[in-house]
């Protein structure tokens, strides 16, 4: 296409998009009257424009989970909603700050998804037992899932991927540990997104999905064989594993 053709082509698109001046438009309309193929081209391009609009007409932001509550922040029609959110955030911030000083952008994201971040001396986690002080390593994160909530599960995976892609991949280590009904998310026959778990394990070297053997045993006692997704690791006890990680300075997040 030479420069003249290019200009003519651009002029045609400008006409279709209503961007051409009156004089140029009048000239083009005259030309179209003489050239049926040009008329056809304009009609086809307008048809394309219509198709593109139509293709995205039904697209709407997802609703539900944490995203919906975030969107409510913007509407703020009821002042009380905003006030309550602000209060909640403040309380969350103060509690988070007091329990976990070296806060990183990563765990702020995760906290948004309805999770709680604690350190190894949180008496709620350790049942009142005080552990020896450890230096927390903000690049090592263990997430704990003990329920079969698909939306929360997907949110968690999104955050894990964000964590692993945003921060230095050589330093960041993430483990997601599943027990209780959360184990269903790791079972080949019940996982809502086994393909994604496999892909993530193949993609991220420093990501591990860990299953609780106690939960597997309990399922077996009920006659259910838990076939886990390949590459999943098994630990004797989820709680024991978490305590071990906390003692090694990992950041613990209960989803």
């Amino acid at each position: 296409m030479n420069n003249d053709d290019k200009w003519k082509d651009c002029r045609l698109h400008a006409f279709i998009d209503g961007q051409l001046g009156d004089d140029d438009s009048a000239e083009l309309i005259k030309e179209m009257a003489q050239r049926p193929e040009l008329r056809q081209h304009v009609a086809d391009t307008r048809y394309l424009k219509g198709m593109i609009k139509q293709a995205y007409a039904g697209i709407e932001p997802p609703t539900g989970g944490s995203r919906q509550s975030t969107s409510k922040l913007f509407s703020l029609r009821a002042g009380l909603t905003g006030l309550a959110a602000t209060l909640l955030l403040s309380i969350g911030f103060i509690v988070g700050w007091s329990t976990h000083a070296p806060s990183t952008p990563a765990n702020i994201h995760l906290a948004k998804a309805g999770s709680s971040v604690v350190n190894s001396n949180d008496p709620l986690l350790t049942g009142g037992i005080t552990l020896a002080p450890v230096n927390t390593d903000a690049h090592k994160v263990i997430l704990h899932i003990d329920q079969t909530d698909t939306a929360l599960f997907q949110d968690t995976l999104n955050e894990v991927e964000r964590l692993l892609t945003t921060y230095d991949s050589t330093q960041t280590q993430v483990e997601v540990i599943f027990n209780s009904s959360g184990l269903n998310l790791l079972r080949t026959d019940t996982s809502p997104d086994a393909a994604r778990l496999r892909r993530m394990m193949a993609t991220y070297e420093h990501l591990r999905f860990v299953a609780c053997r106690n939960t597997i045993k309990r399922l077996e006692e009920r006659g259910i064989k838990a076939n886990l997704i390949d590459q999943t690791q098994v630990t004797p006890s989820a709680v024991g594993h978490i305590i071990d990680r906390l003692q090694k300075g990992w950041v613990y997040i209960k989803v």
Binding site: H13, D17, D44, K53, A55, P61, F74, S75
Partner: protein, 182 residues
């Protein structure tokens, strides 16, 4: 009174932002093809718009101003996740699912796939023009490129879409004719 006026303006601004949420989401979705990422980008855009509301001098240009912010969020995301988006020129894989095989839905998915297969720059221009209805000047301002670049990208994008999608026009015409025979 002054305080009340300010509060009312701020409240109106938030309403205007909220009214643009779906449009922004559609645009983000057309660019990235990922529902969750599109939602994140939309959310980031609205948050930034709230923080930078004083930068909007002409309220009549809210739409293109938001598109500029969305575009910056999108570029920022691409910068952070370079490896994930290097396959820009590749065609998306065609999956024969029941959904794909169903009439109107098939057309919609084919159009989305065709848009997704365009190079990034062309995809951004054609969606800003055809979905958002921005003028070429506004698109040039949003993407920070010369007007000539906008026009040539648009021309190339439409040429590619013509070759990928216009056979559907023939197909749908055939369907109409068959119906009239019946």
């Amino acid at each position: 009174m002054k305080l009340l006026g300010r509060w009312s303006a701020a409240s109106r601004f938030r309403d205007d932002l909220e009214a643009n949420r779906n449009k922004l989401y559609r645009m983000a979705y057309a660019w990235c093809g990922d529902a969750m990422l599109a939602d994140d980008l939309t959310q980031d855009t609205l948050t930034k718009a709230l923080q930078k509301n004083h930068q909007l001098r002409d309220p009549g240009k809210l739409g293109s101003w938001l598109c500029s912010i969305l575009y910056n969020c999108w570029r920022e995301h691409l910068r952070r996740n370079k490896t994930a988006y290097e396959l820009d020129e590749n065609k998306m894989v065609h999956h024969h699912t029941p959904e794909v095989n169903g009439g109107e839905q098939e057309i919609i998915l084919r159009v989305r796939r065709a848009i997704a297969s365009l190079p990034e720059g062309q995809r951004e221009v054609i969606t800003l023009v055809d979905l958002e209805g921005l003028s070429y000047t506004e698109v040039a301002g949003t993407l920070q490129v010369p007007m000539g670049t906008v026009m040539s990208r648009l021309s190339r994008a439409r040429k590619a879409l013509h070759s990928q999608l216009l056979d559907m026009k023939t197909t749908s015409r055939t369907v109409v004719n068959l119906r009239s025979i019946n």
